[in-house]
Symmetry: C2
Subunit: 194 residues, 2 copies
């Protein structure tokens, strides 16, 4: 998605080896018009799969996922990292290991929000090792529902997540694929391929 690649090139920043900072438009500060465009793109890519729900993980996935759910006309379910006071129902839960933080966290979805009739589109802001996406896949499986696709805003194509998810048969659509962040330079998969 050209508009997104241009934004990453203009405002993204490599802050450490393999770490891309996009807090001007995607996670800390959010560009609502870009999110709308991203939502439209995900809807165009996945509407034929007739998703009944969009699933994301708090909190950086919410903005692109909300716009995708809006365009598709379906509810958004936000998997929680901590159980809020009001979550009184039984839950689906999965463990997510973070390679960066070297810690395991739980993700939780209230059972009444997903059932076996659901066709779930998973959306997240980043795909690196794929652990967050696999955690969401596990939650969908616990519900007996189907994952109809995985939409990613920025895939770090030099890490294993994309390969892992695609090898399990999931259709993964990444709107930007980063080939490398070496030497502080952002190289897109698209330019490496061309």
């Amino acid at each position: 998605m050209r508009e997104l690649l241009e934004k990453i090139a203009a405002e993204g920043e490599v802050v450490a080896d393999g770490v891309l900072k996009v807090d001007r438009f995607l996670n800390h500060q959010v560009d609502p018009h870009l999110m709308k465009r991203i939502g439209e793109e995900f809807a165009a890519q996945f509407h034929r799969e007739r998703p009944t729900k969009v699933l994301t993980l708090e909190s950086s996935g919410i903005s692109p996922a909300l716009m995708a759910a809006y365009e598709l006309g379906v509810p958004l379910v936000v998997a929680r990292k901590r159980r809020p006071l009001t979550m009184t129902s039984e839950v689906y839960r999965a463990e997510v290991y973070s390679f960066t933080k070297k810690e395991t966290n739980e993700i939780i979805v209230s059972r009444p929000l997903l059932d076996s009739s659901d066709r779930v589109l998973i959306i997240d802001d980043f795909l690196a090792n794929g652990q967050a996406a696999l955690g969401m896949v596990e939650v969908v499986r616990q519900a007996g529902a189907d994952v109809v696709g995985i939409g990613i805003v920025i895939e770090k194509a030099f890490q294993d997540g994309g390969r892992l998810l695609r090898s399990q048969g999931f259709r993964v659509v990444s709107l930007a694929r980063i080939a490398s962040l070496s030497d502080g330079v952002i190289r897109f998969h698209e330019e490496v391929m061309s």
Copy 2:
């Protein structure tokens, strides 16, 4: 906002004394079309104040705040509760005391995202004791910027937050005001007044 009151009446649930569960449409599962309508309503209420940024707190504030920022055509800034790896800049920070959880948490905003030229519209999903809103007000003050208004989706009018913020001169617009949750019944301020 009639549509919101109807949704709360139909799908909200009183789970404990003073605790309203709205996880079918506002925080755990999110209704994107209702969020769009909420965004339009906030934009209609506040556009004359010419906000330059919308500020909210992760994660339940993001959905209504993103739609408000979209309608107003300005960036959304999401105050963080934990400092992410990529937050390498200097930060504004404020402490927020939670009466429900009886704990103090920090909220953090990266300095480059707010400056003294900003006119900030604060948006949050709930207003109870007002501590989260006051934390965001403090962050805006540290930036030397102005708070041009506070937009709340659901105000618990039987708690002190609304009175506290209004007594400090802030224009607070709440789209739904709950007068009482006693005996498991949701009573709106509007019906108590009529």
